[in-house]
Amino acid sequence: MQIYLPIAEMSVNLFILLGMGSVVGFLSGMFGVGGGFLMTPFLIFMGVPAAVAVGTEANQIVAASLAGVMAHWRRGNVDFKMGGVMVVGGLAGSALGAWLFRELREQGQIDLVISVSFVVFLGLIGSLMLWESARVVLRSGSAAKRRKARRHYWVHGLPFKMRFHKSGLYISSLLPLGMGFMVGVLASIMGVGGGFFLIPAMIYVLGMPTSVVIGTSLFQILFVTANVTLLHSVNNQTVDVLLALILLSGAVIGARFGTAVGAKLKGEHLRGLLALLVLGMAARMAARLLLTPQDMFTVSPLVGG
């Protein structure tokens, strides 16, 4: 069944969209990752204009992260103070990102920047995950417990220290502020929540307890993606609510099965699989940049001046 997307201005098969939503939902339920860094490239591969893919995906992540935050909040796993500081940075970062996005779009370089960002980040995350899971599988899971003490002296020398009771930390507020800022920029330009960057940074740089990391990052992502949705709506009119709702319906169904399957499989094998998928997508994106295009010319509507 074909459905016409009003903002993307294209006709696509409804079941393909639902299927894609549920596959990404399934994967995010299974691996406990946000779907943005998988869904945005999927949409771009499908032919959805990159700008619409980014704006719409931000909108979808609002829904997904609210559901996640509520679940973690019930278990008391959200550090609201830390999250709040990160939100402040995130709002500023997403504003900068949205401005950059518009400038790049006018210059005709936004597709390039989105693609290069995905190649870099997907490649990096995929390689790290593959390496991590290969290391653990080879040692047959004997020691996954090298959690080093945090010895970032320069980090502890920074000013504006704040006490975060929930995380049991007394650190400079510049750190969560800066991390929030960076994720904000990424969210605006790539249409991702940024959990893949935020979660390792919160564990290894801030030294937050793992129990509160996911809930807190989702809390920040909720506000940042809401801001990105608003900014892209105002600046570019590239948020397709119909597309977002269709993807979301698929994702809700997929995530249920994903969580169930994920509980039965071995973590390291799972992570290895996800790593291969992520690397495959990075390669696909890279091919678009490196291979000689069939047509050297592209046509797009005139944006701005």
Partner: protein, 246 residues
Amino acid sequence: MARALTFSFLFALAMPFSPALAQPVVADLSSHRVAITSSFAGEDIVLFGVREGGGDVIVVVRGPPQTRVVRQKERIAGIWVNRDEMAFSDVPGYYALAATRPLKEIADAAFLADNQIGPDRLQFQVMGDGDPAASETFRAALIRSRQQNGLYVVGTGPVSYVGGILFRTEFHLPAGAPVGTYSAVVYLLRDGELVGFDTTPLFVTKAGLGRAVYNYAHDQPAAYGFLAILLALIAGWASSMVYRRA
């Protein structure tokens, strides 16, 4: 209707030829309104008409004028990057052409060029300080891209005669057809001379939910943004409730 009349009036003024006969050719469409609804996947429109006293018929359907940027990729450090660009205005959002015989046998080159009959005879305006000499490859690329998207079609449904004086042709509006006012112009030529023409409008609009969403997003972008967030919050909350119960 008033709009249609104004349109044909303007067109008559713009025509370099004044028709000698009162309506030697009359044409109409199977439908003057195409609604792009949520289930829109393209539509076929039938054009039919009557001609008086023989001759050849050329049918041209033009979509609303648009502005487009064409960019040329260049390899920089192994990566294909957009470099040179050129902006055009007066680019028809849609263009379909059909005729009873090959154009060259019907009309001379001057007539075809003057009336922009055939995609390669379309006159786009170069915007800004673009070099008109270099514009040719960009113009060709724009036409090529539109042909690939099914927006510029030539002779898909050739004009055929039904019992001598009646003629009909069909053209396809693809799913990506732009909204706006289209015009279908029918030229009647005899021995290379224009003996009459008729023009009839076609209105392509978004309809239903899709129209509401599109208009709201463009007319009230901030309110639309808040609505998008609100919808996402409701959906997220609802899915969270579903999980909790399960």
